[in-house]
């Protein structure tokens, strides 16, 4: 079997969520099939500047074919177009202009796929919202397997993505919440789909003592791993933690790991260590009492899975459907919506040994059952096998004529998103998860 993996960026040093996801899956699938990666020359996800040479190179044993990006992203133009399609009544043409402005626009990559599509049995497309995935899905709908990595953001309410979600051969979802959201947005329940997620290269042995010695952290601590960004809920986390620290002067410290794009408050109990290599990161997780995930929007939190793999409970932001759903399904984490809940849940995890131990064990079990690599590989291979057996034709609906594309009748994407039910999808006692939606207000 010959597979093409199409992703916006790719490389051993590219650490974005979807990109890392793509690399892990590619490297695992390459054990079972011939895999080639098609990507751009970009390294920076903000500008999509061509930084890597075009052509073929090998990354961890997998051939990677890079194509140049036609033009860098212009933040002002992209911001203006985003406001147009997310907040106002607009047309298909506006959405297409938004897609082009978002990038990474690489027509060479799409041309290559159109010319050499026959050479691949299936094309696995990562991140539905980018140029490459949308165009590739339209060109090779019959071979397209989409990994949407969709968060609950207004892009999911854009009209151009509905036909893609309905037209691809299969969809590999990251979470039950993502699947429910896309089903509600695109009415594509008929398309074969499965909740897969991604595994992680968690080491078999970790050395928490080494981490403590190296970074001189001697007190017990909770950890946050990820970009330190307001959009990731870090402002709220710091605010809540400072209040908690004032209430419990000798409680847990907070260790923050990741690149900071916002100021981190100077506090004797908040330790920012910057970006850490994988080995140190896993040692830090093993040394921590728990992981805090303050993010509002996640498609799948890999770091939460890693914490569970290491037997650490997670304290998640309850406003993120995916994280809340995972905490409930795994019984391996608590969640908060207000400061009072944050303080109570953190205190419980900090002081209640049996609870901490039980959630940790549940997390390890949840990871082993759902996100261990053999499970992930099996799900991908079974889906590809099923598609080969069924051999059904697939086609993305056409866009409409010149005039129709320019008719400004589409509602603002944020309004569409607000109409999509939200909330965690809870497991029934047996069988498939049953949606248990909680209708909420506008969730922009």
């Amino acid at each position: 079997m010959k597979l093409a993996v199409v992703v916006q960026r790719y490389g051993a040093d590219v650490n974005g969520g979807a990109e890392l996801h793509a690399r892990y899956v590619t490297e695992r699938l390459s054990r079972h099939a011939g895999v080639e990666v098609l990507t751009t020359c970009a390294r920076d996800y903000v500008t999509w500047r061509n930084e890597l040479p075009p052509g073929v190179e090998t990354v961890n044993g997998v051939p990677v074919r890079r194509f140049p990006v036609r033009r860098e992203r212009e933040p002002l133009d992209f911001g203006r177009r985003s406001r147009q399609v997310f907040e106002r009544t607009h047309s298909i043409a506006d959405e297409l202009a938004w897609l082009e402005s978002e990038g990474p626009a690489s027509p060479a990559l799409i041309d290559h796929l159109a010319r050499h599509g026959d050479a691949y049995d299936y094309v696995i497309l990562f991140s539905y919202r980018y140029y490459h995935a949308w165009h590739a899905a339209r060109r090779l709908a019959g071979k397209a397997v989409l990994v949407p990595t969709a968060e609950r953001d207004p892009a999911v309410g854009l009209a151009i993505f509905g036909p893609v979600f309905r037209g691809v051969r299969a969809i590999m979802y990251n979470s039950h919440e993502e699947r429910a959201m896309i089903h509600a947005a695109a009415d594509n329940a008929a398309v074969p789909g499965i909740v897969v997620g991604v595994g992680s290269n968690v080491p078999e042995r970790t050395d928490p003592v080494r981490f403590r010695r190296r970074y001189r952290i001697h007190r017990p601590f909770a950890i946050y791993i990820g970009r330190v960004d307001e959009n990731k809920g870090c402002t709220e986390l710091f605010d809540y933690f400072q209040r908690y620290a004032a209430t419990f002067p000798r409680g847990l410290d907070l260790v923050v790991v990741g690149k900071a794009v916002m100021p981190i408050p100077k506090h004797p109990r908040i330790h920012h260590l910057g970006f850490l290599e994988d080995e140190d990161k896993f040692n830090a997780l093993a040394a921590a009492d728990l992981l805090i995930m303050p993010s509002y929007f996640e498609s799948l939190s890999m770091v939460a899975l890693e914490a569970w793999a290491l037997g650490r409970p997670v304290l998640a932001n309850g406003r993120c459907d995916v994280l809340k759903g995972q905490c409930i399904r795994s019984n391996a984490g608590l969640y908060y919506g207000t400061y009072q809940e944050f303080a109570e849940t953190l205190y419980s995890l900090e002081s209640n040994g049996p609870l901490h131990a039980r959630l940790g064990r549940n997390g390890r079990e949840y990871f082993r059952r759902n996100y261990a690599w053999p499970v992930i590989e099996r799900k991908y291979l079974e889906m590809l096998g099923r598609l080969t057996r069924e051999n059904a034709a697939s086609r993305v609906e056409p866009l409409g004529g010149w005039l129709e594309r320019r008719r400004r009748t589409l509602p603002a994407a944020a309004e569409v998103l607000a109409r999509i039910p939200s909330g965690p999808v809870l497991d029934g006692q047996r069988g498939e998860p049953t949606p248990a939606y909680v209708r909420r207000g506008r969730h922009a």
Partner: protein, 270 residues
């Protein structure tokens, strides 16, 4: 804080969260719904009352803008202004023809009004900087008060958690206290009816007699049992005070003491 137990074979996160929320409600009384909180958050105070919305260098900025401004500050308007001219001859003819002008309309009320307006402008300009200084001082004061309120809020939270901890500690200690044989048992609520009245009276008489005997022993002088008891009470108070702590007990402590403190409100694995 955490008053729930988990069974060793399972932990239901939803159930735990329900218990946590119930505890929060118990502490805070009636809780706002999410919609109500959103509604409250949307109601913003006037911009000038929000210290975060006002620049701390407001006065300096205002003065700077005033100095940089090219707009005319004020004008002078006297009774001669209407007829003023740099050419004396022109000034003369305007005055000469003034009676003819008055045949058409009376310029005097206009002159008077503009003159008053000019005076008002002057007084406003003088008061304006005072107003800004006043607003500036109010903003500083509001900010200071805001910070103080925040600090007090944190202290109240801290005190409340200490109180919470102490209450639980007291309950735990009450559960493990062993009364010496012959010592006075803690008072029990009355359970019987009139039949018990007599025995209670007898018990009370005995207690009073014991108390009298004890008082008699205390009297002889310093160093007696009475003093020892008093100093023991003081020392136990000091001990309790030294154990007063505001941080959550560590897990290891809880685990190791869980058997020793049956009245502890923390969780236990069964």
């Amino acid at each position: 804080m955490s008053e729930f137990t988990i069974r060793s074979d399972s932990a239901d996160v939803e159930q735990i969260m329900k218990q946590i929320r119930a505890r929060i409600r118990e502490k805070r009384g009636v809780d706002y719904t999410e919609e109500e909180i959103r509604e409250l958050a949307n109601v913003k105070l006037e911009q000038f009352l929000d210290p975060r919305g006002v620049r701390s260098d407001l006065l300096a900025q205002y003065r700077q803008r005033r100095e940089a401004s090219t707009a005319p500050r004020n004008y002078a308007f006297e009774d001669t202004t209407l007829y003023a001219s740099s050419r004396p001859i022109l000034r003369f003819f305007r005055r000469l023809l003034n009676p003819i002008l008055k045949l058409f309309f009376n310029p005097n009320p206009l002159i008077e009004a503009l003159h008053i307006q000019s005076k008002l402008n002057d007084s406003y300009n003088q008061a304006e900087s005072l107003y800004y200084e006043l607003i500036h001082n109010l903003v500083l004061e509001t900010t200071r008060l805001g910070i103080e309120v925040k600090n007090l809020k944190m202290r109240v939270e801290s005190m409340s958690s200490r109180l919470d901890f102490d209450e639980r500690r007291a309950r735990a200690l009450e559960g493990v206290v062993q009364y010496r044989p012959g010592a006075v048992a803690p008072l029990q609520p009355p359970t019987g009816g009139a039949a018990n009245g007599q025995s209670l009276d007898q018990e009370g008489a005995e207690r009073r007699a014991r108390r009298r005997r004890r008082r008699g022993r205390r009297r002889p002088g310093p160093g007696g049992e009475g003093d020892r008891l008093a100093s023991a009470e003081e020392s136990s108070e000091r001990h309790a005070a030294s154990h007063e702590r505001s941080e959550p007990p560590r897990r290891a402590e809880i685990d190791s003491h869980s058997d020793a403190a049956p009245g502890r409100s923390g969780p236990s694995e069964s």
